[in-house]
Symmetry: C2
Subunit: 398 residues, 2 copies
Amino acid sequence: MSLKSNISYKILNPPIRTLLGPGPSNVHPRVEMAMLAPIVGHLDPYFVTVMEDTMNMLRAVFQTENELTFPISGTGSSGMEASLCNFIQPGDVAVIGVNGLFGERMADVAERCGAVVEQLTAEWGHIIEPDAIKAALKKHKKVKLLGLIHAETSTGALQPLVEASRLAKEYDTLFLADTVTSLGGQEVLVDEWGIDICYSGTQKCLSCPPGLSPFTVNKKALEALKSRTSKVQSWYLDLSLLSSYWSSSRFYHHTAPISMVYALHEALALIIDEGIDNRVQRHLKHGAALQAGLEAMGLKLHAQEGHRLSTLTAVRIPEGVEDLKFRQRLLNEYNIEIGGGLGPLKGKIWRIGLMGHSSTQHNIILVLSAMEKLLQLDGFKVNPGAGVTAALKVLSSN
Amino acid sequence: MSLKSNISYKILNPPIRTLLGPGPSNVHPRVEMAMLAPIVGHLDPYFVTVMEDTMNMLRAVFQTENELTFPISGTGSSGMEASLCNFIQPGDVAVIGVNGLFGERMADVAERCGAVVEQLTAEWGHIIEPDAIKAALKKHKKVKLLGLIHAETSTGALQPLVEASRLAKEYDTLFLADTVTSLGGQEVLVDEWGIDICYSGTQKCLSCPPGLSPFTVNKKALEALKSRTSKVQSWYLDLSLLSSYWSSSRFYHHTAPISMVYALHEALALIIDEGIDNRVQRHLKHGAALQAGLEAMGLKLHAQEGHRLSTLTAVRIPEGVEDLKFRQRLLNEYNIEIGGGLGPLKGKIWRIGLMGHSSTQHNIILVLSAMEKLLQLDGFKVNPGAGVTAALKVLSSN
């Protein structure tokens, strides 16, 4: 036995970033402390009380009475996959809104589940219009599922869901909404809006480290699950197995990520303490302030007017400014992370997140000031202080 | 808008358990502290250095040179699913050793991937014999994959892998080994033993919170992946996408669970500091001491002699002792968690883990003493001190 173990490693010593990209966002100290709570077994009676509290608080944040409301043991994308692989059987038609990277991903995942996918495309940054949804639902004899991205992280667009949900009901179609970048920041009303299947991620507006996907399904979706004629292709994400663990039977499925559930518990407790209404208002005001600031600096917002996220703002990179170099300077000189564009928007936009614990007045002032300085260095003309002044005006309004 | 947000929750305040069940194990304070390290973005240059260190240390712990060696963003079961869904195409034959719950699970997962599964069964607690493996490989024109559970968490049996691996090569079959309850505790030599695909979990002998699945595949497996004619059914676990993120291209796939990767980094650093050899020896000695103690108390070990895990010991529940009540008293009066039996072994065995940071001399003394006391209360005759005395004798030997 000659074991290779003379490996060297560096001591963990991360820089302290202000995370204003598309996620992860900064984590509140209470959430960090929660991860230090002693590990107990995943079937420990104490852990059961934590699970119950977590499910209860998740229901409040999703604004739902759905019994099956729990965190999936994977990142947001695992929630997307669970939302599709449990409900799609090979040959089912799925209508998916594709107006950004996450819509593209949803279509890809649905295809891997065997769906015949009808892509509803729109320009990246625009919303999917109800007329197009209606036409697609009408076109097929039976559409199993309509999937839309509520908050398109790749474009900054906020998709309206109410009319889409009504149409899904009219055509007896399951309605799936991705709320990864909206839950805990934008208004999300699962029951009132009639969303049948909904998932999110922890590292955006919930301000928890990445690693879990909050998930909720209603009775209609569960009935569709029961009527399946084939096994769900994923064992790990099989809702009928997961629901036996996240229910009073607590039947062992897999070992829940205990520390991450503690973290989510605390992140949700912070939301309950703040009040969901207050939290949505905070994100609204901060998003508006940032956007006013960016426009006052002479920059153009990318997403369709009237349909912009508060939680994530896409702004066009001005001519003559080099994307990567600009973001590297922001990171290296100011310790601020913002996101670049993805796919067709690569090099064309920046994505600035104000999510959860990162959505603060001082972060708005900070990022606008740092951007002003760096833009000036790149020869882009900005009226000194214009951005911060415009933002402060919004922040001080009622 | 009438938001439901008058939800109450309890402040996190877990009991401090000594975790001697089938996992999770107790977490070292250095690992807890690592989770407090500031979150950075998943594409941050700093995080790239953490990923590299983590992959390097994982290679050392798996004893492999495999380039693609990284943690999957899910618990151990997600590693099992990734090991199958990437390599199995519908109609492929998979030979799976089923001598416990996790072998059963592997067979189930393989079937969901479309495999024609040949189950190699053995009594729960016994190993799968090479003759049976050979016969199964011979029987089919082409077997795509042979899957075995190295350390059967449900029975305490340690499956020998060397001859199985040789047979897999002889019959040109991919060889998959589940090392969830062995990696970082029992000897695991991926390259020397010729394992093509191997996964584990973080919450057992690595003594990290649950949430990640260390994973490694060699070139032979990657070539099989490249020769697929259909897309992998899981997007979340698609290795060709995951490998673009966990490689020098760092192409965005999903948001890695930053804090969990920090924790794994630190847990691996602890192994490097201890020395892999020393660590395996520690587990060996502690397992032997516990088993000597249990036998000296008059209890019977469940797993086949000569094939017992050091990391997890299955012991038969004596007549007249009530399983659940006994474990509840151990938990409530001593804050010690041990596991019960699963499936056909429910009510028949207890499973006592000595994994990673939980594998200490004082935990052996503690659990034997507490068990002696509770067994006596249940009317089972134990020579006072016999268990601890026998264990200490092993512990003090060279």
